[in-house]
């Protein structure tokens, strides 16, 4: 396919919200992430860090802290409630008022029998974890001043609590405070301000590590209550701490966006006495690091600048592979934009609203490259804008637009709504079904639902696609052949014929030959699959950094062929070109992609959200002295 007219859309003001809390479940290798808008995301670390589940937020809900108990996820927030989540149906199961004012933190003991929460009124409340519910057990000694952070000793007998200007150590069986560790205030002007102990960690050798608002990471002896070592790491706050599983390393996140690692090292080799030494500094954030988790092979951090960073610890890897590369997750691994191919409409999904845009006509002034495959055009002007304000406080899970542009559907946790669009009028039909993803074909509406187990159920047609080990990240049903194209989180590609109830020949051939390594090494999943309405052989799919047109009529590339061959092709003559063609045609001209779709008039719609635009909308970071300023 020679040239395409491109609608380059940059007016989707998608703004992810800041990451507030994080909890890693080492048993299931799932990371739970809470954002400022109250949404919870679950990442599967065994499956290429894929964002497996999203529990949409709610206006009234705020989450300060997350906690796994076995496979159950609890959260607590400043609204004073503890909530448990239903990870099957992706909604809160129940929430419980703790009657202690805003809750700053929630933790569980290692046995998973008890939960402790730290409240604004100075109480540490213990809850018993029951089969289906939790139940209030008792209060520990009430303190003056709020409880900001908590950490349970691995044996379960003691709890360290970070407060204002001090750390308390509680004896759990009696409920009495046994130690009072006073934390110094900052120097200079901040002397009059109280020090907030943002985070504490209680290690099994009764060492307490604390991070506070004076920028110190302090190591205390929990038995005697004495200060062992002070590391002044920043001029601002130390906001988060995380301990590795073997307790040989602690990471601290600061307001400067740095993550600082401390290691428990013997100063002289082959000796037993060890001390905490500051070692590495990672700087992957521009703003506060609010949430941290040190997992087996990596340090996971997130904060105000909204992206999740997985920084692998290189010493844990034997060789360089795509798993040992730095990974930044900026966009959700699902589709926020849907496109009506015939009508030229775009639907943008925000947490609280939907926006409908119509693509304008091009003025055709773009310069023409005879050899280029795509022709760029000036950014398309929007013609009409329709705004749906979501009613109620539940946020939108997903939304879709029919390709004729006549139907629009969205769902929240509790409801699905379908609207009929007539230029500017809409008729609403409601239907109650909680669904994570909707896809529409032209005439009838197939509602597809995928489960986390990797099987795909197609309602109405009643066939089950064979189970695959990795989550599907995107799929689409071909409008003419009714083939289902699926892309999984591990970048594998399948085509399934719904009619014949088996994989197509092309898919089998592809699996037999294997995908190119360059394709497999990409670190963002494909989030959208669409088809060329004119040429049934062409499948269009995209991830964050590229989009790809797969031409099933062309030969598949083997490992030796050059994968990104567009530049080479351009330099070749017309005669030589066909011999170098292969099925994957990849374009990296557009970056930070949210949606790529082919319209019926063979023009390409590209929705970009430049990361720079997101960064510029963030609040100003803390002031830092820069060299030569």
């Amino acid at each position: 396919m020679g040239e395409l007219k491109v609608h380059r859309v940059r007016f989707f003001d998608y703004m992810p919200t800041a990451i507030r809390a994080m909890a890693f479940n080492a048993h299931t290798e799932r990371l739970a992430l809470a954002r400022m808008d109250g949404s919870v995301e679950i990442f599967n670390f065994t499956d290429h860090y894929f964002q497996e589940k999203v529990i949409p937020g709610k206006d009234s809900r705020s989450i300060e802290s997350l906690c796994w108990v076995g496979g159950r996820l609890f959260s607590a927030g400043l609204n004073g409630e503890i909530a448990e989540y239903d990870l099957e149906n992706l909604r809160p199961k129940y929430s419980l008022e703790a009657y202690g004012g805003p809750i700053w933190t929630v933790i569980s003991n290692t046995q998973g029998t008890q939960l402790a929460i730290g409240c604004e009124d100075g109480t540490v409340k213990l809850f018993e974890v029951l089969e289906e519910h939790i139940q209030f057990e008792r209060n520990l000694d009430r303190q003056k001043g709020r409880i900001i952070s908590l950490s349970w000793h691995p044996s379960g007998t003691h709890i360290a609590a970070g407060m204002m200007d001090m750390i308390r150590v509680f004896d759990v069986p009696t409920g009495h405070a046994v130690q009072r560790l006073l934390v110094d205030r900052g120097i200079g002007g901040s002397k009059s301000r109280e020090t907030v102990v943002w985070s504490v960690a209680f290690l099994s050798d009764h060492t307490v590590v604390s991070g506070d608002s004076a920028g110190k990471v302090q190591v205390w002896d929990g038995h005697t209550g004495t200060l062992v070592k002070t590391h002044l790491v920043t001029k601002w706050d130390v906001l988060a701490l995380s301990v590795s599983k073997d307790e040989s390393s602690v990471v601290a996140g600061t307001s400067e966006g740095t993550v600082i690692q401390f290691q428990f090292i013997a100063p002289t080799l082959h000796q037993q006495d060890k001390e905490w030494v500051r070692t590495r500094t990672f700087k992957n954030h521009t703003h506060d690091v609010r949430a941290l988790a040190e997992i087996e092979t990596a340090i996971v951090s997130g904060g105000m600048d909204t992206h999740l960073v997985v920084r692998p610890l290189l010493e844990k890897f034997d060789e360089k592979s795509h798993a040992s590369g730095l990974r930044k997750i900026h966009f959700p691994h699902r589709n926020l934009v849907s496109c009506a191919k015939k009508a030229g409409l775009l639907l943008f999904q925000f947490p609280g609203q939907l926006e409908l845009w119509r693509l304008g006509d091009s003025d055709g002034h773009g310069e023409k490259h005879t050899l280029s495959k795509k022709r760029e055009m000036e950014e398309i002007q929007s013609i009409s804008l329709t705004l749906f304000k979501q009613k109620g406080e539940d946020h939108i899970c997903c939304s879709a637009l029919s390709s004729c542009g006549g139907w629009l559907a969205y769902s929240t946790v509790s409801s699905v709504r379908i609207y009929r669009l007539q230029t500017d009028n809409n008729i609403s039909i409601t239907k109650v079904l909680p669904n994570p993803e909707l896809a529409m074909t032209t005439k009838c509406i197939h509602i597809l639902r995928y489960t986390s187990h990797g099987s795909v159920l197609v309602f109405q047609l009643h066939c089950i696609v064979p189970v695959y080990g990795s989550c599907p990240s995107a799929m689409g049903i071909h409008p003419t052949t009714n083939n289902l194209t699926m892309v999984h989180a591990d970048q594998q590609l399948f085509e399934y014929s719904i009619v014949e109830k088996q994989y197509t020949d092309w898919s089998r051939k592809l699996q037999k030959q294997g995908l190119h390594n360059v394709w497999l090494d990409r670190d963002t999943p494909v989030t959208h699959v669409t088809f060329n309405p004119k040429n049934p052989n062409q499948v269009v799919l995209h991830d964050m950094h590229m989009f790809c047109i797969i031409d099933q009529s062309l030969p598949l590339p083997d490992q030796k062929t050059q994968f990104y061959n567009q530049m080479t092709l351009r330099s070749l003559s017309e005669q030589e070109r066909p011999s170098h063609l292969h099925a994957f045609k990849i374009c990296k001209t557009f970056q930070d992609l949210l949606c790529v779709s082919l319209l019926d008039d063979q023009s390409l719609v590209v929705v970009e959200r430049p990361l720079l635009a997101i960064t510029s909308q963030l609040p100003a970071p803390v002031r830092q002295k820069k060299f030569a300023t």
Binding site: H231, L232, V233, Q263, I265, A266, P267, T268, L269, H270, V277, R278, T279, R280, T281, E315, K316, F627, A628
Partner: protein, 828 residues
């Protein structure tokens, strides 16, 4: 040509003292540093040069204290030997011949009798591969020993001495090269390698520049090209190693050093700031800024009280208690090159050349010491690589030394050249030069030559430039201002040719300017073009008028290997000879001329009179490379040599700088003898630096001090009585290594106490007698003690009469016999 034994080429001062890390002795009194082919010993308190350890025949490449004897020092050299010295007395104790050129030396207390040296790999003589080998020093009594027992420790190490360091108690050795750190454990005989990514794309320069190990803990500090310092720990594991990064330097970290207790880490680089990291609290650091030039080495005294830093401008700074600069040892500054020629200041007879960036240095050749720096550019120098900053490129003095002219220029790629001509007047009150006139952009292009008129009546300056002109500048007198300023008097040119050089005749009546292939002779009085001389082919490179009896000759050299001599009376070519003369220099005090010729990669020297066909002196293969700068320096004392070959050195001395920036000169035997005598004179048994002040006052003060001690502490003296005898004193003060064996000494010592084979009673009496004698002596000095000593006087009185006169005589005889061997030993 026959080699003349009596004229020798010597390095006379100006050697590089910042070449290798200096060493501070255990008592912090001396600083030792490699300087050319010798090791210089300086006093840390007075910054005075004490003496040097001479013996190596090539560049000294390392100095370390002997860990088993703190009064000895090892030095290694490119001549393939390791030498052991007693630095207090400047005695060479032993020479170990290794056989390969040595690039650096390391020792450790744990490895006794072994030194580690970096030598080129044996199989790869031509390539730049080096290995670290352990040398077992053979224990033999000979002065010169061959140490052939070498065992390789690490292969492929950097020859840079900062790239290898011993770890805690010598258990391991860390070496860096390129992007790799290698740690070798001696016990396990196992080495670990850690590599960093090159990371060029992000502007990260990870290459290692230096390494230093913590003396008490297992921590290795490495410096990097991008200014980072990494502290490595857990390096006995392949994967679980870890490091902390410290970052303050913006340029490369040149050197790192832990203090002896390991509480602090010192680092330095191009910023010329000594950074002082607290080991346990990495974010706390102290700075000692404005040290003048980039820091190249840091050394700490063994007790940690003194730091010393070497700087790129050939300077060693001694820093007391982390904060105070207590002494500066400044050598001849040889930066990237000598832009100005070598000039002699007519007043101070000092050598003048560009020194620190933007400065002129005045360097006393006789005392081998920098006198002072004159700030020419008067702009802040920015310590940053890759900046184009003003440099002093030309300087000239007038005949009496009243005026100094300097040219500074800033070369910028692609931008216009900035040139300033400055004229400085000598101020008698302040004894220095004061800026009189600044001419911005005196020429449109670079200035190729600048000379003052030698005539005493007029002060005139001539500058030639590549902009096809030469200009004459005159001091204009203005009645209204007290002091005149300089202005342009004449602009001359010749057929739009570029003037390359110019020269004044000795009396200032003629000016010769070379315009490419044509020599023009002008009269400065009327600015009339008198004549043109041309001797094609080749552009004129150098012009020189003859002096005294030869003043009718004008000599010129051309690029086409011609040395021509014109007779100015006949305006014709007197003679010419085919020679590739790179430099022609006239002696201002005689009619002699020195011509340096470059021939097949090395330089030859010819000293001749223009009137005579035969050279006075010639020396083939002076040094490798071209000689670009030379100067005749007048002697302060005339030599009385009558021999023909050395006569030319009688009035002045020829100094020249080789391509490797070595300052060399010629010396005769008589001169060396004289120098030797004067240095002997200065040699005093006490090892404190000898200054004239000390010679005047020190002795006197010491006597006073002794007297005082005797007064305040009589008991102490009494217990030290045996030391009073001269024999024992000499015995104790002779260096240990020249003494005979202990058994022999013991017998001698006992015999010195004995008088004869008489009874024990007599012996005792004698001893008491001796002590009494001492007593009496001190009593003679200090009367007030009499009353005090009366308390034990009776016993003395008891013994005293027992001694007869004859016995006393015998005692004296024994005494004189007794140390005769010692004095004979000392004399030999």
């Amino acid at each position: 040509m026959v080699e003349h034994a009596e004229i020798r080429m010597v390095r006379r001062g100006g050697s590089k003292i910042n070449f290798r890390e200096p060493v501070i002795t255990n008592d912090s009194r001396f600083l030792l540093c490699a300087a050319g082919e010798s090791v210089n010993v300086y006093s840390t308190s007075t910054e005075e040069f004490v003496h040097d350890l001479q013996g190596h025949t090539d560049l000294v490449t390392g100095v370390v204290l002997n860990p088993s004897n703190h009064l000895q020092v090892y030095s290694c050299s490119a001549d393939g030997t390791v030498r052991l010295w007693d630095f207090m007395d400047g005695i060479l104790i032993k020479t170990f011949i290794i056989g390969y050129p040595i690039y650096s030396i390391y020792v450790s207390e744990k490895h006794g009798g072994v030194v580690f040296v970096v030598v080129p790999m044996a199989n790869y003589k031509s390539s730049e591969l080096f290995q670290l080998v352990a040398v077992h020093l053979p224990r033999s009594g000979d002065q010169e020993v061959e140490a052939r027992e070498l065992s390789a420790v690490l292969c492929d190490v950097s020859p840079h001495p900062g790239a290898v360091s011993f770890g805690r108690e010598g258990e391991y050795i860390a070496a860096t090269k390129g992007l790799q750190l290698e740690v070798f454990f001696f016990k396990k005989q196992k080495s670990y390698r850690f590599s960093l990514k090159s990371g060029m794309k992000k502007g990260v320069k990870n290459a290692f520049t230096c390494v230093s190990c913590h003396p008490k803990e297992d921590c290795i500090a490495t410096g990097h090209a991008d200014g980072k310092i990494r502290l490595w720990r857990n390096f006995n594991q392949k994967k679980e190693y870890t490091y902390t990064t410290l970052h303050w330097h913006h340029g490369a970290v040149n050197t790192l050093c832990f203090t002896p207790e390991g509480t602090n880490l010192l680092s330095g680089g191009i910023e010329s700031v000594l950074v002082h990291w607290h080991y346990t609290q990495e974010n706390q650091k102290d700075f000692l800024p404005r040290l003048g030039a980039a820091i190249t080495h840091i050394a700490v005294s063994p007790d940690g009280s003194l730091f010393c830093t070497s700087h790129s401008d050939n300077k060693i700074t001694i820093i007391q208690s982390c904060v105070k600069v207590s002494a500066i040892i400044q050598g001849l500054v040889k930066g990237d090159g000598v832009w100005t020629d070598l000039i002699i200041d007519p007043r101070s007879k000092a050598l003048v050349l560009n020194g620190k960036p933007g400065h002129l240095q005045f360097y006393s050749l006789h005392r081998d010491k920098q006198l002072y720096n004159l700030d020419i550019v008067q702009q802040e120098y920015i310590n940053e690589e890759g900046l184009d900053q003003f440099e002093v490129v030309k300087a000239a003095f007038d005949a009496r030394g009243d005026w100094l002219a300097t040219v500074e220029e800033r070369r910028k790629k692609g931008a216009e050249l900035e040139i300033n001509l400055k004229l400085w007047a000598y101020d008698k009150l302040t004894q220095s030069f004061v800026l009189n006139t600044t001419v911005t952009a005196p020429h449109e292009d670079r200035i190729t030559g600048m000379f003052f008129s030698p005539s005493p009546e007029t002060t005139m300056l001539v500058t030639t430039s590549l902009d096809d002109h030469f200009k004459a500048w005159l001091l204009a007198d203005h009645s209204d201002t007290k002091e005149g300023f300089w202005s342009c008097d004449f602009v001359g040119g010749y057929h739009l040719l570029k003037p390359g050089c110019c020269s004044y005749s000795a009396d200032g009546s003629l000016l010769a300017v070379g315009f490419q292939e044509v020599v023009t002779v002008w009269s400065p009085a009327s600015w009339e073009l008198l004549t043109t001389l041309s001797q094609p082919p080749g552009a004129i490179r150098d012009l020189c008028f003859g002096r005294l009896s030869c003043s009718k000759y004008l000599l010129g050299t051309s690029t086409k290997n011609q040395l021509c001599c014109w007779n100015l009376l006949t305006c014709s070519l007197e003679w010419s000879t085919p020679m590739d003369v790179s430099l022609l220099q006239a002696d201002p005090l005689s009619e002699n001329m020195a011509a340096f010729c470059s021939q097949s990669g090395s330089s030859d020297l010819f000293v001749f009179k223009p009137s005579e066909p035969r050279p006075l002196y010639s020396q083939k293969a002076l040094c490798t490379g071209k000689v670009q700068h030379a100067v005749f320096a007048p002697r302060d004392q005339m030599l009385e040599s009558c021999e023909e070959r050395t006569q030319w050195l009688n009035r002045s001395q020829l100094y020249f700088i080789t391509q490797d920036m070595d300052l060399l000169t010629f010396s005769t035997k008589t001169e060396e003898d004289r120098l030797l005598a004067s240095s002997k004179q200065l040699m005093v048994d006490d090892s404190v630096a000898v200054t004239p002040f000390y010679l005047l006052l020190g002795k006197h003060r010491r006597q006073q001090l002794e007297k005082q001690e005797a007064l305040t502490n009589p008991m102490a003296e009494r217990t030290q009585l045996p030391q009073g005898s001269i024999a024992i004193k000499e015995l104790l003060h002779t260096p240990a290594h020249v003494l005979p064996s202990a058994s022999f000494l013991c017998a001698m010592f006992v015999r010195s106490l004995l008088v004869s084979r008489s009874s024990a009673r007599e012996e005792k009496a004698e001893e008491e007698m001796e002590s009494e004698k001492e007593e009496e002596d001190s009593e003679g000095e200090a009367d007030p003690r009499l009353g005090e000593s009366a308390a034990w006087a009776p016993s003395e009185e008891f013994g005293a009469p027992a001694l007869t006169k004859a016995q006393e005589r015998e005692l004296r005889k024994v005494k004189t016999f007794d140390h005769s061997w010692l004095s004979s030993l000392l004399d030999s």
